[in-house]
Structures are given as structure tokens and as C-alpha cells.
């Protein structure tokens, strides 16, 4: 409860920050820039001369310079240290690279606002860990090309070529990754976080296995089986909301589960012919709406749909009102199993395959992330006095030795090598006071610009490993629109406007169709309205961006 309230407070605070930013832009900007600027100036002033020295290419580097880095501190680590440099990981990194780093950590909840303020104040740190793709809300508007031409960040082609041999090797070895981390015109702009291929799937539908066993039902795979199962949950298990999924801030977290059964998606996707399409205007999308409308009316799908936030869902799952949902590996299965461990030892959540219409079908789509994770990726800014040093420091993370530190921490302290594989020590794994998540946050860097190691596994339950296997079996790779398309600046502006209007309208109608406020007959009008808002132009823009992307 308290946590939820805090989250809401943060939301309010964010809202207020946003509003005041509009009203007081000038004031905040000038105030902040002065505050930050002085500190930085002082730091860099001391070390300005070091640039000419030979820093070498072996670690630790031969330097006395301090560089500055803007990055969010892992929310678990915050409870231990306010500065990454003070954590065991930060100290080890400084020792290994020979570079002292002055970290500025934005508040995780307000990183967007603080990022914007930093850009506006023109007082950039040497390197900034942030989503530079221009795709997610709050990332640099206009994307990397614009950020480079605006003179915010450096084009990294020469820098990577000369000073980052480890990253260069990784990019050369993985064409798919290489395509993702450069722009249409072939410019590199970040030191990317490279996900491990086993860590790309972490979300999907899940169900109470103990209930299924009680009712002697199999794990449902088709829509028809789901309906039977949910009915049984309702009638025999007394579940008030057999299926419930969170809906907050206009995001229905069902994503493409259930929708995918009808060979469409909740947003833009690529069809079998390689054409970009907008799912919510497909004829088969109507079938999905009809299904959920029926489930809602029959009480199989949460009666408080659209009002169910994380706290409400927790409550429903933990009190047995809900038997199935769509959620995450650790935030869902892990967290809820953990919470019920003592109260109800039989409580058992397992991942189910993405539902399909027909038996034996491969699910059309599902959650699948890309190996390039843009959020925790670092760009070098134009303010960097010594880009070479920054690049060399960043490149350490892609070396074999560096990868071990960033992934597992300090050998002998947080992990030991057993049969050639790293294993967490009891300090991390079986710590009496702190959870594994908390410990790895101060001994390693859970997210950041390096390649995540496939041997790293934070799953604590066999159900989690099993769920990943089940959720991975989809055609998602074929049907997911790559997140790294780069429309031109002009196109971006147009696209942003259309998508904003369309998704706003679509979301409202979506909820109304499901709760029965809008007759299904008006589906055609709804499609016509979205067309009128210019969806075809948006599809066209994505299509051409996709073609450019494929040609990279």
C-alpha cells in the first residue's frame, strides 16, 4: 500500500514538475544550469591538461583525469549508496580502469525531466546513459541523427574504430546488432547495452497451476480452452475476476497476448508479407474485441478492467480473486510466488503459451525484446573534453575481464569460478539480510552498456525458467516492428502527431468496446475515424523506414 502510494506521489510530483516546467521553464532552466555548471566546471578545470598525455590502451589506463557520467542508479542500489562510485562495484571499476568517475544520478522517477533539463541547460556530462533512439516517450526528440546534428552527442564511428577495439569486435561479429545500433546513414551513436539472447523474453501469460490441478484441467493453449478454464475458475474457485491484467496510464499490459491469437497486434506490426500494419484497424481485431466484450460481460474478464493498477492486481492475485494474468518473470511470477510462500505453499504460478485460435498453431506474436537495449546505453556528448578517455573507459566493459566485473562483480567476493563458470557466492545468493536483486545491484551493474552474460541467471524459481521456454515459442521475431527505425526529422514530427491522436482515440474506443459502452456495429465507423486521422500516412512512414532499416 505504502509503496503504491509512493509511486502515485511520484506520479503527481512528475505531473507537477511537468506543469511547472511549462510555466517556469526559463526560471528552472537558468537556476539549474548555474547549480550544475559550477560543480562541473570545477571538476573539469582541474583536469583539462591531462588530455595530451598518453593514456595507453591497456587497463588500468594511465591517467589522472576525472570524467563525468550521467546515469540512473539502480533502484536497489539506491538503498545502499547514493553514488555508484561508493559501491563495491564502482570502486572495483575505478581500480580496474584507472579512471575516476564523477557520477550524477538522476532520480529514477524523474529521469525524463532531468534529462530534458540537462539538455536545455547545455551543461552536459561527458557521457550520458539514456535512450537516445527518439522512440520512447522522453527520449531525445528526433532521434540520434538529430542529436548529432544538434551538437549534443558525438558521432562515434571514428571513436569506436580507434579507441574501442572490444566493442568494434562485437559489432563486427553480430550483423543484426550492428544494424540496430546505427542510424540509416550508418552513424554509431552509443555504446550499447547488448542483451543476451536468453534474456529477450521476460513477459507473457501466466496461470494458477494449483487451481488447474485441483480442477483436473490442462494448461490452456487455445482461446476455447481458456474460456473453459476461466469459467471453471469463476464457478468452482470463486474467482471474481478470473482473468485480470493491469491497465495504467493508457497502457493495457496484455500487450499482444490473446490479441495475437487473431493474427494481429495491439499496435503496429509486420504482417506475413513484410508489410507494416496497424493492428487495431484489422478486421480480425474486431473478433478479439468481441471475445473480450463477451468475457467481460460474463465476468470472466475483470469487471474493474481499466481501473486495475499494479496494487489492485497484486491484491487480486494474492487473495485468489484472479487466476490468470499477463505479467513479468520476476515482477510477476517471482514476486507473487515469493509473497505467497508462507501463506499458501501450494500457490503455484506457471507461464502458459501465448493463446492461439487453433490447436497446435505457433502463436503469431509475443513479447520479444531486441538484443540492443537502448535505455541503458551511453552516448558521448560534445562536452567531453577527452573523448578518447571516455571511449576507452566505456570499452573496458566489452573486454572479457570487464564483462565479468559488470556481469558478476568481483571474483572471490561476489562470485567464484566453478568448472569454468562463474557462480555467485553466498554473500549474493544466500544473504540473510538482502535479496539477490539488492546484492547484485551493488556488486555489478544490472543494466548498462556491456554485453549481458548468458550464464547470469537471476531467476530464483524453476517456474521462471520454464516460463521463458514457453513464452519464447512464437513468431514474434517475424512480426515485431524493430524499435530502431529512424524516420527523418520531418517524418518524425508528422508521425508523432498522427500516432498521438490515433492512439488516444483508439484507447478510448478500445475500453468502450470491451465494457459494452459502444455497440460492436460502430467498429466500421471507428476504423474510418482512424483512417481519417491519417493512419495510412503513419504506416507509409514506418514502411519506408523499415525498408531503409533492412538495407542498413
Amino acid at each position: 500500500m505504502e509503496r503504491r502510494l509512493l509511486a502515485n506521489e511520484c506520479f503527481l510530483r512528475r505531473l507537477k514538475v511537468g506543469v511547472s516546467a511549462v510555466l517556469l521553464t526559463s526560471l528552472i532552466l537558468s537556476g539549474c544550469s548555474q547549480g550544475n555548471g559550477n560543480k562541473l566546471e570545477g571538476k573539469q578545470g582541474d583536469n583539462g591538461k591531462g588530455a595530451s598525455e598518453e593514456i595507453g590502451s591497456t587497463y588500468p589506463l594511465n591517467t589522472t583525469e576525472t570524467i563525468s557520467s550521467w546515469e540512473v542508479l539502480d533502484s536497489n542500489a539506491v538503498t545502499f549508496h547514493a553514488d555508484l562510485a561508493d559501491t563495491p562495484f564502482g570502486k572495483a571499476l575505478a581500480k580496474a580502469t584507472g579512471v575516476n568517475v564523477k557520477y550524477i544520478h538522476p532520480n529514477e522517477q524523474q529521469s525524463k525531466e532531468q534529462f530534458n533539463l540537462m539538455i536545455a541547460s547545455d551543461e552536459l556530462l561527458d557521457t550520458v546513459e539514456y535512450d537516445w533512439t527518439g522512440h520512447s516517450a522522453g527520449s531525445y526528440p528526433g532521434g540520434p541523427e538529430k542529436a548529432i546534428s544538434d551538437g549534443v552527442i558525438l558521432e562515434l564511428n571514428d571513436i569506436i574504430d580507434q579507441y574501442a577495439p572490444n566493442l568494434k569486435k562485437k559489432l563486427a561479429a553480430n550483423k543484426e546488432l550492428d544494424k540496430m545500433v546505427k542510424t540509416d546513414s550508418g552513424k554509431y551513436y552509443v555504446f550499447p547495452m547488448i542483451r543476451n539472447s536468453s534474456g529477450l523474453v521476460f513477459r507473457g501469460p501466466m496461470i494458477r497451476k494449483d487451481w488447474l490441478d485441483d480442477l483436473k484441467l490442462p494448461v490452456p493453449t487455445t482461446i476455447a480452452e481458456w474460456e473453459t478454464t476461466l469459467k471453471a475458475f469463476k464457478d468452482q474457485k470463486g474467482a471474481k475476476a478470473p482473468l485480470s491484467v493491469t491497465y495504467t496510464g493508457g497502457n493495457f499490459e496484455i500487450r499482444d497476448a490473446f490479441i495475437g491469437a487473431y493474427h494481429t497486434s495491439n499496435s503496429f506490426y509486420i504482417d506475413d508479407e513484410g508489410k507494416v500494419k496497424y493492428g487495431p484497424i484489422d478486421p480480425q481485431y474486431k473478433d478479439f474485441l468481441t471475445l473480450f466484450r463477451k468475457w467481460f460481460a460474463e465476468g470472466l474478464f475483470d469487471k474493474d478492467f481499466a481501473l486495475t493498477d499494479t496494487k489492485a492486481l497484486d491484491n487480486k492475485i494474492l487473495t485468489g480473486q484472479t487466476g490468470a494474468t499477463v505479467h513479468q518473470l520476476s515482477g510477476g511470477i517471482g514476486r507473487w510466488m515469493d509473497a505467497m510462500k508462507e501463506q499458501d505453499p501450494k500457490f503455484n504460478l506457471v507461464g502458459t503459451p501465448y493463446p492461439t485460435l487453433n490447436n497446435g498453431e505457433v502463436p503469431f506474436t509475443g513479447q520479444l525484446s531486441f538484443i540492443y537495449n537502448p535505455g541503458p546505453s551511453k552516448a558521448i556528448t560534445t562536452s567531453a573534453k577527452n573523448p578518447e578517455l571516455v571511449a576507452r573507459w566505456l570499452d573496458y566493459a566489452y573486454s572479457d575481464e570487464g564483462a565479468m566485473l559488470l556481469n558478476f562483480g568481483i571474483e572471490g567476493e561476489s562470485y567464484v569460478m566453478e568448472n569454468g563458470a562463474p557462480v555467485y557466492t553466498d554473500l549474493i545468493k544466500n544473504n540473510e539480510k538482502y535479496s539477490l536483486q539488492q546484492m547484485v545491484s551493488i556488486y555489478s551493474k544490472p543494466n548498462g552498456p556491456y554485453e549481458a552474460d548468458g550464464r547470469r541467471n537471476w531467476n530464483t524459481l524453476p517456474q521462471q525458467d520454464e516460463a521463458v521456454k514457453v513464452w519464447s515459442q512464437t513468431d514474434a521475431k517475424k512480426h515485431t516492428l524493430p524499435a530502431f527505425l529512424t524516420p527523418t526529422a520531418e517524418e518524425s514530427k508528422e508521425l508523432g502527431k498522427i500516432v498521438m491522436e490515433v492512439s488516444n482515440y483508439k484507447e478510448e474506443m478500445f475500453v468502450k468496446f470491451i465494457v459494452g459502452k459502444e455497440p460492436m456495429e460502430s467498429y466500421d465507423q471507428y476504423v474510418a475515424q482512424i483512417k481519417k486521422m491519417g493512419i495510412d500516412r503513419a504506416i507509409e512512414i514506418y514502411q519506408s523506414a523499415l525498408e531503409r532499416y533492412n538495407k542498413r
Binding site: 503504491r4 502510494l5 502515485n8 506521489e9 506520479f11 503527481l12 505531473l15 507537477k16 511537468g18 506543469v19 516546467a21 511549462v22 510555466l23 517556469l24 521553464t25 526559463s26 526560471l27 532552466l29 525524463k112 530534458n116 533539463l117 539538455i119 536545455a120 547545455d122 516517450a137 522522453g138 526528440p141 544538434d150 549534443v152 471474481k240 491497465y247 496510464g249 493508457g250 469487471k303 474493474d304 478492467f305 481499466a306 481501473l307 489492485a312 508523432g496 502527431k497 498521438m500 491522436e501 488516444n504 482515440y505 484507447e507 478510448e508 474506443m509 478500445f510 475500453v511 468502450k512 465494457v515 459502452k517 475515424q529 486521422m533
Partner: protein, 323 residues
């Protein structure tokens, strides 16, 4: 400081007209007489200059394509583009209508509520009871909005308190916040619950200022409690009521977006989506600052007009006005 007045006097005598000199002289004399009052005024003046007047130049971004990197002055001009896209948006009339409707209901039910409570409290003779009621009604004002909305959500859920009551009387359980027709009722009535106690403070203060002799005179003339209230109490606080009413009119287009955003969802947009929530959703969430400021500026312009006309009207009708 002591040296200034004589010098000033000389210069004003030379240039300004007679009346001007005397007021300026009077003003300076006043400063001399009550210097500390003026010193105490300084923070207030600074506050308004720094936080209300200085930022106004930022409203320029309503006419620009604001990019944080280029700054307010550096961003390119786009003229009325943002205003046009707001006026031409398919939801323009809906948000205007919703804003006005919610304001209107708040004015209709929310504005008289504290007056009535204050009048009732005024009639209570038992101090202990009066104090208890006052404290209890103040309380909601101090609860964070997020908590209040959390409570509202819990109560209106399909298995919440209100539905338990409805179900007891044989009604069907419905998730009240999913029904657009109930949104205004929920919003306005919870608003009254939140603010009624706080709102009475100013009226109680005004009530305390009424001359007790008037009541005695009324009693001698044979007025009962009801007549006393009608002819002594109400006229005694009418100017307070009017001034607060003018201020309320000025806020007609400003329905608090925060509470709306915490309570609404797509199925109630139809009645719940007001200017500020719309701006938040379309503007700030997407960091479209220029669009948001354009709408904000439009909003302020209307509010400004409303206050001016309400004030003018009130002055015409009963000689009470803000200025």
C-alpha cells in the same frame, strides 16, 4: 535611507503636478512611518515578480516549436500552429464542454456547501459539538489528493463499499468509475467532502465580525432565528460571498487536472476529460511543451475575461467588487 526623501522632494516639486507630489510625498512619509511593514512586503513582491511575472515571457513558446536544446529564444516561430491544432482536434468541444460542466456543477453544489455549513455551525450553541464538527470537516482537506483518490477508487470498485450498499438494496454491482454518467457526481461530491470544512473558515470569520447588537435589535423587532439569519447573518457575509464567487468564476476553466487524471480512464473520457487532463495526456506526456503552453495560454485568456466580466457585473449590481 534617511537621506533620500528631501532630495526626492526637490525633484518631484520641480517636475510633477501638485496632486502627484502630495501622493508621492504621502507614500514616502508612510514608508518612513511604517518601514517594517514595507520590508515585510518585499518577499511578497519578489515572489510575484520571480514566480509569476518573470516566467510569463516563457509563454512565448506557445508560438514556437520549442526544443529544450535551442531554448526559449532560439526555438523557431510557428505562429498559431499549436492553437490551430488544438481548436481543430476532434476533442476540442468535448474538453471545453466537460470543463465547463464540471466547473458549473462545482459552482452549483460545491460553492454553497460551505456557506450552508457555516450558517448551520453559527446556529450551534454547544461549543464542544461545534468544535468537533469543525475539526472533522477540516480533516479531509489535509489528506493528500492521491490518498483521497485511492479511497474513492476503493469505494467505487465493483466490490467496494458503495456497491455493497447498492447490492444490499438489490441493485446490480457496477464498477462506478467505468460509467461515464457517474463521473461528474463522484468528482463533485467527493470535492465537497474534501473542501467543505476548509471552505467554512473564511465564512465563520466573516460571521464573527457581525455586530451582535444587530441580532439584539432584530430580536426586539420580533425576528425569529430564521428571520435573523435571513436579514442579519446573510447580509453580513454577502460581500465575502460575492468576492469568493468572483474568484471562483475566474477558475471556471481551471478544473484541477490532477484529481481528474487520478480518477479517469478511457471509458469515462467522454465526461471526465477536461482541458488540463487533455493537455497532460497529449502535451506533457509526449513532452510537447509548446502545445501545452498554447492551450494553457488560451485557458488563461478566457479565465481573465471571465474574472473581468464577473467583477464588472458585480460592481454594477451591488457595488461589491475586487477592484
Amino acid at each position: 535611507m534617511a537621506k533620500h526623501p528631501p532630495q526626492l522632494r526637490k525633484s518631484t516639486l520641480l517636475t510633477a503636478s501638485g496632486t502627484n507630489t502630495s501622493t508621492r510625498w504621502g507614500f514616502l512619509k508612510d514608508i518612513r512611518k511604517n518601514p517594517w511593514l514595507y520590508v515585510m512586503l518585499i518577499p511578497v513582491l519578489l515572489y510575484f515578480t520571480i514566480f509569476h511575472y518573470y516566467p510569463m515571457y516563457g509563454a512565448l513558446i506557445a508560438f514556437k516549436e520549442f526544443s529544450p536544446r535551442l531554448g526559449i529564444m532560439g526555438s523557431p516561430w510557428v505562429g498559431w500552429e499549436h492553437f490551430e491544432s488544438f481548436f481543430n482536434g476532434i476533442y476540442f468541444w468535448r474538453v471545453i464542454k466537460n470543463t465547463l460542466m464540471i466547473s458549473f456543477y462545482e459552482l452549483l453544489f460545491g460553492f454553497p456547501a460551505p456557506i450552508i455549513l457555516a450558517l448551520l455551525l453559527n446556529e450551534v450553541r454547544k461549543t464542544a459539538f461545534k468544535r468537533t464538527v469543525q475539526t472533522l470537516t477540516y480533516m479531509p482537506h489535509f489528506i493528500s489528493l492521491v490518498v483521497v483518490c485511492g479511497i474513492i477508487k476503493e469505494f467505487t470498485m465493483s466490490d467496494g463499499l458503495i456497491n455493497d450498499l447498492l447490492a444490499f438494496f438489490g441493485w446490480e454491482r457496477v464498477s462506478l468509475l467505468l460509467e461515464s454518467e457517474y463521473f461528474r457526481t463522484i468528482f463533485v461530491s467527493s470535492g465537497i467532502w474534501q473542501n467543505i470544512g476548509w471552505g467554512t473558515i473564511i465564512y465563520l470569520a466573516a460571521l464573527a465580525g457581525i455586530d451582535q447588537e444587530q441580532y439584539e435589535a432584530a430580536k426586539i423587532d420580533g425576528a425569529n432565528r430564521w428571520k435573523q439569519m435571513l436579514h442579519v447573518t446573510l447580509p453580513g457575509i454577502i460581500s465575502t460571498i460575492i468576492i469568493l464567487f468572483i474568484l471562483e468564476i475566474g477558475k471556471l476553466m481551471n478544473v484541477g487536472g490532477e484529481k481528474i487524471i487520478l480518477l479517469y480512464n478511457p471509458s469515462t473520457y467522454e465526461t471526465a476529460d477536461v482541458i488540463s487532463s487533455y493537455v497532460y495526456r497529449l502535451g506533457l506526456q509526449e513532452f510537447n511543451y509548446s502545445f501545452s503552453s498554447a492551450v494553457g495560454l488560451f485557458n488563461s485568456a478566457i479565465n481573465f475575461t471571465l474574472v473581468i466580466s464577473a467583477n464588472w457585473l458585480s460592481r454594477k449590481m451591488n457595488n461589491t467588487s475586487l477592484w
